[in-house]
């Protein structure tokens, strides 16, 4: 084989290899170790020595084994065919690994990230003689029924079109465009429909835009109380079993992004299988197409090599940026970023670096910041708008949010959905605590809600949050002296909050109607509960007892409205509202 030998193995310590006899190896170069050609990356260079992290199991690697260089940085392949595929952490398609090695993943398998044989229907948008540059869209390919893949000039390339393929079917191997490069001495540039990009380097854009459109997730506690903006960043910390994965899955299914990149980073194999089984069957409410037609999966399960876990996050975000550059809104879920941080820690430990807090390397905060910085609402190089929103789960040891990964993540995200153990234990899902959680996007996205959904939105939201806060103080009193010590007016606050929690905040991911709520349904539900609050409060002031209010039959209907009123039947809230008004009128009449 005509390969460059970049060095030899000197020491093997788990996934970390020390190499000697290095001269021209590049930092971040993708390399192959030994005759099995295990994939790795150069992460440190010093004199004639290098440190290499290997993305596959290193069992059997011995000192003296050859290390082969690829001459390129660890990159992903970008082009039609990404959607609907499940990859491992370094973009090896799991289906193709399965074809080669069956149920169990072997080492040293060859792979092509994108299908090289498949023909795609290519529609050119530019013509011979046109001048094109970085990021310009030169053609389209219908990648799935729902996604039009926009073929772009790779960043850093420009020139006059010498020739372009005419409309027709082509594989990713075929040249579809030849550019006369403007850079002197660099000859013609031949482009295919695919391009490569190094995973650790953000893809360039023209400009950042303000974040003022919410990412509607269909999860009421999120959209109504702690909304995320398109292009925004959020952390979901929570101990085990509090609902990180379920929340991520729910968002992946129902949010109004165009493209979903889901990274299973160091978590369970069965959870990826679950997604693989479920997504193709689920229908995206906004397009009527299967959810798999907008989803890309990356799986580095907890029993796969730890270094590929470190890479999986970057593989995912690079793919996300690529679709953003085509003018799409992309949401990326990373479950869990703690496993990625722990992978960093393990690798750092094996390299015998000086640890900072709890064994994590001192550069942990930098890495976290760099990752979340890759989110944003952008103007692309071709002048379109696109966004990448990052939703990162955090798994704090012992569920303690004061640990380093949660703390550092908090510094770099603007939205925080803290999962509460108490709520999860009571099977109140999603267990997003309303006291710890926050969203800094609120003011920026309020106009969107007020214009599109209802003018009272921000005010209603503020009012219910205020009640929730009051309730906490009242509950503290109740815990000391019992509820009877409170006057009805205060007990009614507790009552309304209980209704709000049961009827609104709690949302059953497994119920066909309840699993997601449109913005309009959310607003109507909130309005009805606030109607109960405002008029009930009034009634109590006039002497109606809380027991009477509680016994109103219509209350049962309100508590179950999330399950009974479907998203496309919101007009039924009118009837429910009228019924509540009538019941309250009757109570009022008695006490007059």
């Amino acid at each position: 084989m005509n390969e460059r030998i970049a060095g030899t193995v000197k020491r093997v310590n788990g996934p970390v290899i020390e190499a000697s006899r290095i001269d021209d190896a590049l930092m971040m170069e993708m390399i192959f170790v030994g005759e099995q050609r295990l994939v790795g990356e150069v992460i440190k260079l010093k004199g004639e020595e290098a440190v290499i992290q290997v993305y596959e199991d290193t069992t059997g690697v011995a000192p003296g084994d050859n290390i082969y260089g690829s001459g390129e940085a660890l990159s992903v392949s970008l082009g039609p065919g990404l959607i609907g595929t499940i990859y491992d952490g370094i973009q090896r398609p799991l289906e193709s690994l399965f074809d080669q090695s069956g149920e169990f993943i072997e080492k040293g398998l060859s792979f092509q990230a994108l299908d090289q044989e498949k023909k795609w229907d290519f529609t050119p948008l530019v013509k011979k003689g046109d001048f094109v540059s970085s990021g310009d869209i030169i053609a389209t390919v219908q990648e799935t029924q729902r996604i039009e893949h926009r073929i772009m000039v790779p960043p850093g390339r420009e020139g006059q079109i010498k020739s372009i393929a005419c409309e027709g079917s082509y594989t990713l191997r075929e040249t579809i465009l030849t550019l006369d490069s403007t850079v002197p001495g660099t000859g013609d540039i031949e482009l295919t429909m695919a391009q490569n990009w190094p995973i650790r380097k953000p893809r360039p854009t023209a400009d950042r835009r303000p974040l003022n459109i919410p990412l509607i997730t269909g999860q009421r506690v999120i959209d109504t109380l702690f909304p995320l903006a398109k292009g925004g960043t959020v952390a979901i910390p929570g101990g085990f079993g509090t609902g990180k994965t379920m929340t991520q899955h729910a968002i992946a299914k129902w949010c109004d992004a165009d493209i979903i990149v889901y990274i299973g980073c160091g978590e369970r194999g069965n959870e990826m299988t679950d997604v693989l089984n479920e997504f193709p069957e689920l229908i995206d409410p906004s397009t009527g197409r299967s959810l798999m037609e907008r989803t890309i999966l990356i799986a580095n399960t907890s029993n796969m090599p730890v270094s590929a876990r470190e890479a999986s996050i970057y593989t995912g975000i690079t793919i996300a940026e690529y679709y953003r550059d085509q003018g799409y809104h992309v949401a990326i879920m990373a479950d869990s970023t703690s496993r990625w941080a722990e992978a960093l820690r393990e690798l750092s430990g094996r390299m015998e670096e000086m640890p900072a807090e709890e064994g994590f390397p001192a550069y942990l905060p930098t890495r976290i910041a760099e990752f979340y910085e890759r989110a944003g609402y952008m103007e692309t190089l071709s002048g379109k708008e696109g966004s990448v929103s990052i939703i990162g789960a955090v798994s704090p040891p012992g569920g303690d949010f004061s640990e380093p990964v949660t703390q550092h993540t908090r510094r770099f995200v603007r939205c925080f959905w803290g999962l509460d153990r108490q709520l999860a234990n009571a099977r109140h899902y999603p267990a997003i605590g309303w006291l710890d959680s926050y969203s800094e996007y609120l003011n920026d996205i309020s106009p969107w809600w007020e214009e599109r959904v209802g003018p009272a939105w921000a005010e209603d939201r503020r009012e219910i949050l205020e009640l929730l806060q009051k309730e906490v103080r009242l509950q503290q009193i109740v815990k000391l002296v019992g509820p009877d010590a409170l006057p009805d007016s205060q007990r009614f606050i507790i009552e309304v909050c209980t209704v709000f929690k049961n009827a609104f905040l709690q949302q059953n991911a497994f119920d066909d109607i309840d699993r997601y709520s449109t913005a309009e349904k959310q607003m109507r539900m909130l309005a009805i509960i606030l109607l109960y609050w405002r008029r009930g409060n009034e009634a109590i002031r006039r002497g109606v007892t809380i027991v009477k209010l509680r016994r109103m039959k219509v209350l049962q209907e309100i508590i179950k409205m999330k399950l009974t009123i479907a998203n496309d039947k919101v007009e039924r809230f009118d009837r429910l509202e009228a019924k509540l008004e009538r019941s309250l009128d009757r109570l009022g009449a008695i006490y007059g």
Binding site: R11, V12, N13, G14, E18, S20, D57, T59, G60, V61, A62, P63, G64, D65, I86, L94, E95, F98, S101, G102, E103, F104, I105, F240, G241, R268, G269, N270, M272, T273, L276, N277, T301, S302, N303, V306, R339, E342, E346, G349, E358, G359, S395, P397, G398, G399, N425, A426, R427, H428, V478, K479, L480, V481, G482, D484, N502, F510, I559, L563
Partner: protein
């Protein structure tokens, strides 16, 4: 030279004398290039062979971890050979009914059964596209499990216990009673003991014997007085056999592993010896990945008949669920059955804490056609009501029970009934799922129907109050 030939020649090479011995680690200098995780044979001066594996290899030195411990080895006379391949276990169905040590060598006096395959004990990651999502309900006959934390075939569901709590009884009861509705299947039990005492092993053997399944059980015992390092390999040997039984022989295998805490301690011991930077409580940073390598060796595969269901047992140091061992386990396993000392003290069996216990696979294995249509809502309602009971009890302890509202009194009563009639049962009591669910409704019927937000009107009509219970007190 032909690579295989070269490998064979090198593996026959024996190095006499080692350069350093520290705990279970042996350091050998000036060897041929040995591979990471290669199998090692150490021959002591009497000629007995101990197995080990290469943990770190460089041009200067190979670090070997010896599974049978290093006591009795000396530096000049120890002979070491490197086998050129990772440690394998010879497996066969004939291992059922036999007792082995942690490395898979017979410890029942019999001859080693003839292996049909030799498999790398470290296993390989299952490709997620090859997995079959587990959904078959296993009836354990234990209400708090079947009703609230349903076990699914292919699940990994650990018991988080504490010293002196009846985790062995529960594990044995599950093993005895577990069945899949309407299926008569080929099953096997693989039992891995790590650092537990002889009487624990004895207890399980007796229990298997009594229920007449001993010939379906393979035991891998590395007991408290065996070298602690052997515990590292014990679950790997056990799971290797389990994979063979499940995926080559088509059997449904239940793997009981006890006590995972002892396993983790051995891991910590080695890590400390090697001077690795610890993360929490001195445990190595890779404890999570290491445990995942074990726990993820469970489940089902597309197109294969068999399955591996794991029932690991771990004792929580100081009953602390946030300790790294239960904590990291909980992050990997598909739920957990958590024991509560207080319930045990009140004489309740099994002392399963209602709230922190969880079965993550329950959602896909219960309901219409699997258990009963009302099951999902019923379970959710029981959790919600029982969680409120905990609040009421706290309140009662502050203001006195007399001061509670009538409604809260009803919750107190519900709580009592739920614990005594639903959770509590005999260690030989095998309840059908219908009985379990009916008992759930019986408890709920102590609460006013308007309180039951998580069940539907239809379900209330059908089940609420159908089972004879006392009427709620008058005067509400």
């Amino acid at each position: 030279m032909d690579k295989d030939l070269k490998k064979r020649l090198l593996s026959a090479r024996e190095y006499v004398g080692v350069d350093q011995i520290e705990g279970p680690l042996v350091f050998v200098k000036n060897t041929h290039p040995v591979g990471y995780r290669e199998l090692v044979e150490c021959r002591d001066r009497k000629g007995n062979i101990r197995l080990g594996t290469v943990m770190d290899t460089s041009a200067d030195v190979a670090v070997v971890q010896v599974f049978e411990g290093t006591s009795g080895l000396n530096m000049p006379e120890t002979r070491v050979s490197f086998k050129g391949e990772p440690q394998t276990l010879g497996v066969t169905k004939k291992m059922l009914g036999r007792v082995f040590n942690g490395l898979g060598q017979p410890r029942d006096g019999g001859a080693a059964p003839r292996a049909v395959r030799h498999i790398d004990v470290n296993g390989r990651p299952v490709n997620p596209v090859a997995r079959e999502y587990p959904r078959d309900f296993i009836q354990t006959g234990i209400s708090v499990i079947d009703g609230m934390n349903t076990l699914i075939r292919g699940q990994k569901l650990p018991i988080f216990s504490g010293n002196g709590l009846p985790h062995n009884e529960l594990a044995a009861q599950i093993t005895r009673q577990a069945k899949v509705k309407g299926q008569d299947t080929d099953f096997a039990v693989v039992f891995a003991a790590m650092g537990v005492k002889h009487d624990v092993a004895r207890y399980f053997i007796d229990s298997f014997e009594k229920s007449g399944v001993l010939e379906k059980v393979a035991l891998f015992l590395s007991l408290a007085d065996d070298p602690s390092i052997e515990r590292i390999i014990t679950p790997r040997s056990a799971l290797t056999l389990a994979e063979h039984l499940a995926f080559d022989e088509g059997m449904h295998v239940l793997v009981v592993m006890t006590d995972m805490s002892n396993y983790c301690e051995s891991l910590r011991e080695i890590s400390t010896l090697r001077g690795e930077i610890p993360s929490r409580k001195g445990y190595p940073g890779y404890l999570y990945s290491d445990l995942a390598e074990l726990y993820e060796r469970s489940g089902m595969l597309k197109g294969f008949k068999g399955s591996i269901t794991q029932l690991p047992i771990l004792t929580m140091p100081n009953d602390d669920i946030s300790h790294p061992i239960p904590d990291l386990s909980g992050y990997i396993t598909e739920g957990q059955i958590v024991f509560e000392r207080d319930m045990h003290a009140r004489g309740l069996y099994p002392p399963v804490a209602g709230l922190p216990s969880l079965s993550r696979l329950m959602k896909d294995g219960i309901g219409e056609g699997m258990t009963r249509a009302d099951h999902p809502h019923l379970a959710s309602q029981l959790f919600a009501a029982y969680s409120y009971v905990k609040d009421v009890r706290n309140l009662a302890s502050v203001i006195g029970e007399e001061e509670l509202t009538p409604l809260d009194h009803q919750y107190m009563e519900f709580g009592e009934h739920f614990e005594k009639k639903f959770i509590n049962q005999r260690a030989d009591e095998d309840r059908s799922i219908e009985e379990t669910l009916d008992r759930g409704w019986e408890a709920l019927s102590l609460l006013p129907a308007e309180e039951l937000h998580r069940v539907t009107e239809d379900e209330i009509d059908e089940y609420y109050g159908t089972v004879a219970v006392r009427k709620p007190e008058a005067g509400l």
